[in-house]
Amino acid sequence: MAEALLEVAGLRKRFGGLAVTDDVSFDVAPGEIHAVIGPNGAGKTTLIHQLSGTLRPDAGSIRFGGREIVGMGLARRARLGLARSFQITSVLPGFSALENAALAVQARSGSSFRFLRAAATERGLNDEAMAALNAVGLGARAGVMAGRLSHGEKRQLELAVALAMRPRLLLLDEPLAGAGPEETERLVGILRGLRGQYAILLVEHDMQAVFALADRISVLVYGRVIATDLPAVIRANAEVRAAYLGEDEAA
């Protein structure tokens, strides 16, 4: 197997007496879709925060592309190619969809300490931003203010912004959160289209989507990874069923 793109080893985070991330280790290979699932309160969001750089772990290491990134902040990790999408949609409501994506292009193409030329007329930025919007099927809505997009469209825009960063790894924090059945179908289709082009760490509640998309799945329970394996193996794992899947089936 090729060397892992993201290697998490011995990650720990405590809030008071509660171990929210308890000796978590896993890796994401280039081009792989690796899903992290777990019941509510398992520590998925805390894990994403530590991976993206908005929360500092107490111990452990996170290596990205062979480089230790534990001490780096969100912006620095983003520049290295780690793109994060947010569980609660986080777009710039007063910017058009195109400008939302163009800002991400701008972040990786030259200095932004440029004061005179109008950014909105930069062909280079706009073309790449448009390509990212098209990749998620939002090209027709490029000129619309992000604040006026529907919920599903905002989820698409969130993805487009991440793609516009040309990342090496996508950290997707519940990209289907709050999406209706049709929107979910569309978003899963988009994610399927990204398979192989990007390494993706997918944290998601929608089990159908996870089993349809993931190459490997890690199961997080009370802050610990209790299993990492192929979807078929995870589905058959008794411990996982007891901790998580069983709940759903019993309900």
Binding site: S52, L74, A75, A78, E99, Q106, S112, F113, A119, A120
Partner: protein, 302 residues
Amino acid sequence: MRAALVVLAGLAAAPFLGFGEGYSLTLLARAMILAMAAVSLWLLVGGAGLVSLGHAAMLGVGAYALVVLDDARITDAVVVVPVAMGAAAFFALVTGAVAIRTSGVHFIMITLAFGQMAFFTASSLAAYGGDDGYTLYGRMTVLGHRWLEDRLVFHYLCLGLLALALLGTQMVLGSRFGRVLRAARENALRVEAVGFSPYPYRLVAYAAAGAVAGLAGVLLANATEFVAPSYLAWQRSGDLLFMVILGGLGSLQGAVLGAVGFVLLEEWLGHLTEHWRLIFGPLLVLSVLFLKGGLVGVLRRG
């Protein structure tokens, strides 16, 4: 931008429309100079989302830089203007480096605190008049020429610099730099998530706004030929903030409309009655309550 252009055209025509005598020109110069300071404050409040309650300090630092040079008989604009703008930018850079690490109410309080520090420092400068202020030897010269003593020349100088500040700020807001600044105002986390640290952008904006306000301070000192600690008083910071909000945060031109409207209203009420503040205050309150989006918002709807 149209409303601001109408106001600027009005100011350009004013000397020929019966407002050419000394008293009117003094008033209009004051309006234009404060409008320039308001434009620089708008970059912070409307552009970067940094609500500063210490902007008068930048004005004051520029004016006191001029005082120090005037006392040393250095009065040529070629030296005074860059030094004063540089001093104000430097003051903004140093205080901003601390203040911009905070946000919201804390940012307001810390800029107020720095402003008060500057105010008390100015009050204690015995060599430059202390509390009583300092009367200039005269207006600046330009390459040795005493052009600024001509009221009309001074009027158009203020107008030209205001227009320049307005256009320059507009351009910066639309640039790559301005886009990062505006995006960080809307959602700082989003901006960081695509790879920008907002801090250096905000700090540069803060220093640039300081420089422009410093230039306004130089002009104000020349207009009145007198500089006092009241230049830096927090009430003036409050007035500037009010002008920006009165004009409207939706568009940069609001700063010009707000400042000119504020100064003229203040003047007009002052003529009506000695107790004009009793009317002015409630009017300001009503304008905040009912003019959604400020004067710019009213014009857009109307």
